[in-house]
Symmetry: C2
Subunit: 104 residues, 2 copies
């Protein structure tokens, strides 16, 4: 079972769930109400997100609140960081070009 963060955020529905939970913990039913998919389909997505620790559970009675775990998302950020220098370089080049045009 391949279950890493990158595989988890590959699905648009799962990305939407993460955006939804970024600032509010929610129960599976509450989450499912925001989508057209069935409760089970959403529940499966939640399971995948929880397995790779992008979500944490907090059980209160029969309800389970799912919390977003920023630490895990940081892994994606750290991977993307290796390319950041590249687009900043290009931006600098564009910037220099624009300045040059302006001074003509």
């Amino acid at each position: 079972m391949r279950r890493d963060v990158f595989q988890a955020i590959a699905d648009p529905t799962r990305r939407a769930i993460l955006s939804l939970l970024a600032f509010n913990a929610m129960t599976p039913n509450a989450i499912a109400e925001h989508f057209d998919s069935s409760r089970q389909a959403i529940s499966k997505h939640i399971k995948i997100l929880a397995e790779c620790q992008l979500l944490n559970q907090e059980q209160t009675g029969r309800e389970i609140y799912y919390h977003f775990n920023p630490q895990k998302m940081q892994e994606v950020d750290q991977w993307v960081a290796q390319f950041r220098e590249q687009w900043e370089k290009r931006f600098d080049q564009l910037d220099a070009l624009l300045k040059k045009q302006k001074n003509k």
Copy 2:
């Protein structure tokens, strides 16, 4: 055919290819030499990366050089950005806690 950046970087081999091409444009054969997979398997990964514009082609004779396109990777960065505040907040909290411990 779902062909977006997130789906493209979901595969570990494709992520390795991107890291490889980040600073040097390379031909498919040269790329394939860095992996255990066959040339065709790598070629398929390259095709997917090119389709979602993470790679650009530059044909010179019978060789094709693939270049990394930072602009497209920025899309991932922009999506992750919405969560950045979260882990920075937590970091600040941890930082405050550590300072508090220190001053005891």
